[in-house]
């Protein structure tokens, strides 16, 4: 639900819930984007890293 849905209300419940939700989603999104972009950059540069020890 977004603020433009008619049943949206600006109350504490919404703020807490959506705050936590978007916080978590942002972390995931940023993390994933970071990994992908970095991998693309590394792949284009033909970099190699040490293998097998994660």
């Amino acid at each position: 639900m977004f603020p433009f849905s008619f049943e949206w209300v600006w109350d504490l419940g919404h703020l807490v819930f959506h705050g936590a939700l978007w916080y978590a989603l942002s972390i995931l999104g940023i993390g994933l984007t970071y990994c992908i972009l970095k991998a693309a950059w590394q792949a284009s540069r033909g970099e190699e890293h040490e293998h097998g020890h994660h």
Binding site: M1, S5, G13, L21, L28, G31, A39, A43, H49, H54
Partner: protein, 418 residues
């Protein structure tokens, strides 16, 4: 034939045998898919649910698999946040089991709703005060986390790994896995708890209702805690079953022992809290609503919810496995360990069953009678469907992905092997 796909340094059964196995499980899967389509086309009248049993086998299955899938977040938490490094040898499998559990839960949920084509309204028109909303959001997000955690495993397939981008991607994702794991644990805490809240907030249902802190009923915390306790037990159980099926040792005993020990102490604390909760509920919460404990367990011909179920859940499948798991001697005995984790897993399932099914069986209006329910074959088939799907996914993952880091070491190839 498919040897190019099989991880290095390990041996797999012949492709023919593998495919035969998949075909057998696939037949079960197909049965479930037929039932699923029957339900999609004809509607939920294909089930034995009714207006008194709006939640039934499926919701139980959802709650149960999510509780058992809790092994993923908790093992991740231990591995990445609390630094239990040994657990890296089982974390892959925990993630895979979690992935199977959560995808199954989502699948079942998608079958369970009356209007699956607009099920996304739960997101769009979300009511943030509903436990189910919280469940839906966190569940979906956490499924995303599990996917993120599972992807690097796929990327480590011998053929995929040859592509530089994927190799790098897997490496990078491993690099910041702690961030994902922490987010996953955060999300898990809330959705596991919210699942507990599903019945805990129902103040019209004295059997399920619990007091609590703020908006969170005690079941909120009990569910999270029990998922953290029983999830790893399920991971151990499935690992052991996999070892039996493959006739190989895949994870070292120390690793299992550590996880079992932590699960044991979690279970001890959980079951203590559960007992306190039960006593408080029986002595204070329910009587205030006009019910005694025995109102919930007796005089219920046809529904079979006797006091035995409480004893089975808290005693046989709670206290007993808890005590077993904290005893090193039990943990060292493979059979007893197996029994202990099995009981713990059953305990979690039984808890979820009771909180959903028995909650609805108990008559609340004094002039109503106990309600009875037995699932239809369509419900059973669609509940078994994810099990078959899980077995297939695990089989493929095991065959083609390096799930068990210690497998090669524990099972050295004979001379002349690959």
């Amino acid at each position: 034939m498919d040897s190019a796909l099989i991880p290095k340094g390990v041996e797999r059964c012949p492709l023919g045998r593998f495919l035969a196995f998949i075909a057998i499980v696939g037949a079960v899967l197909l049965w479930g898919v037929v039932a699923m389509f029957l339900i999609y086309i004809k509607g939920l009248n294909q089930t034995n649910m009714n207006n008194a049993y709006g939640f039934a086998l499926w919701i139980w299955a959802d709650l149960a698999v999510i509780a058992l899938g809790g092994g993923a977040f908790f093992t991740g938490l231990l591995r990445y946040i609390f630094g239990k490094a040994e657990l890296k040898n089982i974390i892959n499998y925990a993630v895979l089991i979690g992935f199977v559990c959560y995808s199954s839960a989502l699948l079942i949920l998608a079958i369970d709703v009356g209007q699956p084509l607009r099920a996304w309204f739960i997101f769009w028109h979300a009511n943030v005060h509903s436990m189910l909303t919280e469940v839906a959001f966190c569940l979906t997000c956490y499924f995303g986390v599990l996917t993120i955690e599972y992807i690097p495993l796929i990327l480590e397939n011998r053929q995929i790994e040859r592509i530089s981008f994927f190799r790098h991607l897997a490496h990078n994702m491993h690099g910041i896995m702690a961030v994902f794991a922490a987010t996953g644990a955060f999300l898990s805490f809330f959705h596991q708890g919210s699942l507990g809240g599903v019945s805990g907030v129902l103040y019209g249902r004295p059997f399920g209702f619990r007091s609590g802190i703020g908006i969170w009923p005690w079941t909120f915390f009990l569910y999270t805690w029990s998922a953290a306790a029983c999830g790893p037990c399920f991971t151990i159980l499935v690992t052991r079953i996999t070892e039996m099926a493959t006739r190989k040792k895949l994870v070292k005993d120390e690793v299992i022992d550590l996880l079992a020990k932590i699960a044991g102490w979690m279970l001890v604390t959980y079951i203590a809290a559960k007992i306190v909760d039960t006593v408080y509920w029986a002595a204070v919460t329910a009587p205030a609503m006009g019910f005694t404990l025995m109102d919930f367990y007796t005089n219920n011909p046809g529904s079979a919810y006797g006091l035995w179920i409480l004893i089975a859940e808290v005693g046989l499948c709670g206290v007993l496995p808890a005590l077993m798991l904290i005893a090193p001697s039990v943990r060292r005995n493979a059979r007893l360990l197996f029994l202990a984790v099995l009981l713990a897993v059953l305990g979690a399932c039984l808890n979820r069953w009771v909180m959903i099914l028995q909650m609805q069986a108990v008559p609340v209006l004094p002039f109503e009678r106990w309600f009875t329910y037995f699932p239809s074959w369509q419900e059973i088939a669609t509940t078994i469907l994810p099990v078959a799907y899980g077995i297939i996914l695990i089989a493929f993952s095991y065959r083609y992905l390096p799930i068990f880091p210690q497998e090669a070491e524990l099972n050295p190839l004979p001379e002349g092997g690959r």
